[in-house]
Every structure is written in structure tokens, then in C-alpha cells.
Amino acid sequence: MNAVEIKNLSKSFGPKQAVCGLDMTVPMGAIYGFIGENGSGKSTTEKMICGLIPTGGGSIKLYGKDYTDESVRTKMGVLIEAPGCFPGLTVFDNMMIQAANLNIENSVKEVTRVLKTVRMEGAAGNKYKNCSLGMKQRVGIAMALLGDPTLLVLDEPLNGLDADGMRIMREVFLNIVKDGKRSIIVSSHLLGELQKVATHYGIIRHGKMIVEMTADELDASCRTYMALQSAEMNRTKMLLGCRYSRVEEDEAGYIRVYDLTTPEEIVTYLYENGVCVTEIKTDKIGLEEYYIDLMKGGK
């Protein structure tokens, strides 16, 4: 059984088709990285999963049940766009309200537990409107964690978090899914951070799922390349460009050769042309580059 199973989902806003025949499968125990450009339909899909906007067609199943089934929905945690808190109330009061909505019996204990998880126990008495952006984001995540949810839907949860906050969130995510039953859908533009925790990926474009894969499959799909530096970078680039089909210079100042080759072959070729290689290494493209490649239409 999958945590989320979406078939042929569609949604349009007037003439604009936001989601178009989307299929999506989130296995139990997965941290599902949901990736796409701005306006690609990520948030719309997440809102439909959460029942916040009516679907235009297709089906959504959560743990084998229809997504409108209240028993499944009470075990969902959500953070979409911004935490839904009343600005004039304290962090604790806002948490207590959501705890009551979830029918949590020992609510004070549960609220204290989740605030401690996101290291916000010291700010429980602060009014929500006085919290910083990062603190608000932590409150939103804490609220989503209330009641030990089986499915978390988090839209850009890492926005505004500092390095420590991101580390805590990674720990929290990994802790949640460790029993193999709970699942998390995370959409984020911070692909480097997402790659550290995601076990599955779904890439959406123009409302359609263009690829779904596991982290292992992504790893296998990510091409290796040679990154090198020399004393004469411009000449090196020109020479490599004559011999190999795809040669690029990266932000770190390395020349990358994506063609199938070996370091020995490149070093020999450049040496024969009077260029001395000072550094050469083999590496793999990350999720970010894979995604950019995919968006450009080439992989």
C-alpha cells in the first residue's frame, strides 16, 4: 500500500490548466521530494491532497482510502505556504488550537513535545506576530508535527530557516519515516538540502509529472563528469571543446567534461597539446544539475 496514490489528477483555474493528468505515487516510509518550477502546479497538487481546493478530475488515495476520509485526514500534518496562526495569540495558544482540532487528549504535553522537537520551547509564550520568519517557520513545522501524523505535506518548509534549523528539520524528517510507515511530501527549491533527506523524487512541469524516481535511481541517472583545472584555462577549454561534445565551465572555476572518458585520456590529450593539468577529479552531477538539465530538455 502506498501513502499517496494519485491518478490522472487535474485542476484548472478558468482557462489556465494548473494540473493536467498528474499521476503520483508516494510509498510508505518515503520522503518524497516534490520538485518543479514556480507555477508548475506543486502547491495546487498539495492543496488538492489536503482537500483545500476541489479537484477537477482524477482520484487521490491516502493509505488506500479516499482523500476525503476523515480518519486518514486527522493523521495529516500540513505546512503550505505559511503557517496558519493567529497573529495576536501566543505560539502556545496557536498550537493548542490545532491540538484541539486534532482531538489530542493530552494536548499540553503534546504541544510541549513538538515545540521541544523544533527547539521552540523557549518561545512558546511569544505572540506569533512577534516571531521572526525562521521562528514562524519552525512553529509551522511544529504544528504539522502535532498528533504524530502519518503523512506530512510540507510546502517550502526550509524557507527562512538557519543552518541549525535545517539540520534539525533533517533529523526530524528522518526520525518520522524511520518506522517505514509514515511519509513526507516536501516541496522545496533548496534542492541541495532536499537531496540530503529525500528517498523519492517527483518532478513536475506544466502540471504534469515528468519523472518519478527513487534516490538510487536518481543516483544512477546522474551523469559523471571530469572536472579539471590548468594554468591556461581558456586554451584548455578551447582544446577540450574541439575533442569533446559537452564542455562547460562551472561556478567554482573548473572545466567540466561530460562525455564518456577517463582522466588519463584527458590529461594525455592536453599534455600532447602543451597544456599542463593542475587538478582533475571525477564527480557526479547533483539533483540541482539533474533538474536543470531536465528542465532544459536534455539529460
Binding site: 482537500g51 483545500l52 476523515e70 480518519s71 500540513v78 490545532q98 517505514g180
Partner: protein
């Protein structure tokens, strides 16, 4: 590892109870609630005292030379309704409108801001993700609006009596008895769900646009406003109360279903 998950069902009563608990907690923590209750207390006192002080004062129209004599209230009950054979609060037409029935309009502000706050703050996302039964939300809002409205009516009544006592007005019931007053107040309270359900429907349709829901609710409320004094006169009997109860239930259930349909068919964010 077992590849299944078990989910507990929560009973209707428990769900409604927790939803009401949340809304009542929010209501009693909201400044707006106390401001409206304070207004309901202060307004009749100020109005009665000021009108009594102006009683008999002459004002001359500079252009026509016409002399107008201000008429103040004669009886404390005029703030609640029209006495048999008499007029409502004084002869001034403005005060014909500004009586206890103002609470029906005051509650519009409360309901509109209370509902729009849910959508503006994003709380609706948290709520509707874990709550699929939209009817419970509507029910909870109607109950909160009803409680606020009923409290405003009671407080306005107390304020009117205080104002009458301060101004030294007569408390003569002109042949009516305390039972009629009780029935009049009960009728007004039981009529409150009619207005609250209209305001709730408009607020839910307008969602985060508080200004739109307030304008719509005040406009919609004004259409029915004049009927309140007709249905709930000072000489009300149990028949008035029963009629108001029936109307209140009919509107609350009917418009409640409409509100639920609006929530189900439209985007909640």
C-alpha cells in the same frame, strides 16, 4: 513489517465539541468580542441619558425659522420596543432605528471578522486539512455568532435599564407585564440565528475579504432589520417566540447547508 495503517474514527459529538471548544476559546480571547459587548452596554446608557438631557430643547432652523422641539424618551422600555399606543425611543426617527435591534447589526461585524480571520491567518488550511466535515465548521460559527448576539441583546437590555434609571425615566409597562418582556427578549434571542446564518454564509463566500463580507452582511441585514421590531414587539407572547425559534432553525439549517456547499465547492486558500 505489516504494510497497513489503522486509522481511528472520531465521533460526531467529539468533533463538534472540539471545534466549538476552539471557537469559543478564540471568541472569549478576542478583543472584538469584548468591544462589541462593551458597546452594547454603553450605547443605550449614553443614548438614553443624552436624549433625556436634550428633552424639550428648542432648535431654530436658520433658513426657514422653523422651531423644532427635541423629544426625549418618556419610558425606559422604549429602548427595547414600542409600547402599546406609543412610539419607540422618543419622537426622533434616528432613535427609532437605534434601539436594542442594533445588536443584530453589531453581530454582523463580529461574524464577518471572526470568519475572515480564519482565512486571512491561514488557519483554515490547518483546519480543513484535518477536518473534512464542512458542516461542523458552519455549525460552530453559527453557535459562536448566536452566543455573541444573545449576549449583546442581554447586555443592551441591561444597559437600557441602567440608562433609564440614571435618566429617571418611568418603568411603567402600560398594561404589559414582565412575561411580555421576557417573551420579547426570548424572541429576539431566538431570531438571532436568522441573522447569524445570513452573515455566516456571506462571510464564508467572501472568505478573507472582510470588507466585502461586512458590506454584504450589513446590506443583507438591513433588508431584514425592520422586520425584527414587527416580529418581536414589546407585547410578545409565546407565539412570537415559537415563530422566531422556527425561523431561526429554518435559516440556520437552510443557510448552513448553503454555507457548507460553498465551502465544499470553492477553494479554501
Amino acid at each position: 513489517m505489516e504494510n497497513t495503517m489503522k486509522f481511528e474514527k472520531v465521533s460526531f459529538c467529539k468533533r463538534v465539541k472540539s471545534m466549538l471548544k476552539v471557537d469559543l476559546r478564540r471568541m472569549f480571547k478576542s478583543k472584538l468580542f469584548y468591544i462589541l459587548i462593551a458597546c452594547a452596554l454603553v450605547m443605550p446608557i449614553l443614548m438614553t441619558v443624552m436624549m433625556s438631557m436634550m428633552d424639550g430643547q428648542e432648535s431654530v432652523n436658520q433658513q426657514t425659522g422653523e422651531i423644532t422641539i427635541m423629544e426625549g424618551p418618556e419610558n425606559a422600555w422604549q429602548n427595547i420596543g414600542t409600547l402599546p399606543g406609543g412610539e419607540a425611543m422618543g419622537g426622533n426617527e434616528v432613535f427609532m432605528m437605534c434601539n436594542i435591534n442594533m445588536a443584530f447589526m453589531g453581530v454582523a461585524v463580529f461574524v464577518c471578522l471572526f470568519v475572515s480571520d480564519d482565512f486571512r491567518s491561514g488557519y483554515s488550511k490547518n483546519l480543513f486539512t484535518v477536518r473534512t466535515k464542512r458542516g461542523e465548521y458552519v455549525l460552530s460559527k453559527i453557535v459562536c455568532g448566536f452566543i455573541t448576539g444573545a449576549l449583546m441583546l442581554i447586555v443592551y437590555f441591561v444597559g437600557s435599564m441602567l440608562g433609564g434609571a440614571i435618566s429617571g425615566l418611568s418603568f411603567d409597562l402600560h398594561g404589559l407585564n414582565a412575561w411580555n418582556i421576557v417573551m420579547c427578549m426570548l424572541s429576539k434571542i431566538l431570531l438571532m440565528p436568522v441573522f447569524v446564518s445570513i452573515f455566516t454564509l456571506i462571510s464564508i463566500a467572501a472568505k478573507q475579504k472582510a470588507w466585502l463580507s461586512i458590506c454584504g452582511s450589513l446590506g443583507g441585514g438591513m433588508l431584514l432589520f425592520m422586520t425584527v421590531s414587527l416580529i418581536t414587539p414589546l407585547d410578545s407572547t409565546p407565539v412570537n417566540a415559537i415563530l422566531c425559534l422556527a425561523g431561526g432553525l429554518l435559516f440556520a439549517i437552510g443557510l448552513g447547508f448553503f454555507s457548507r456547499a460553498v465551502l465544499r465547492k470553492t477553494a479554501l486558500v
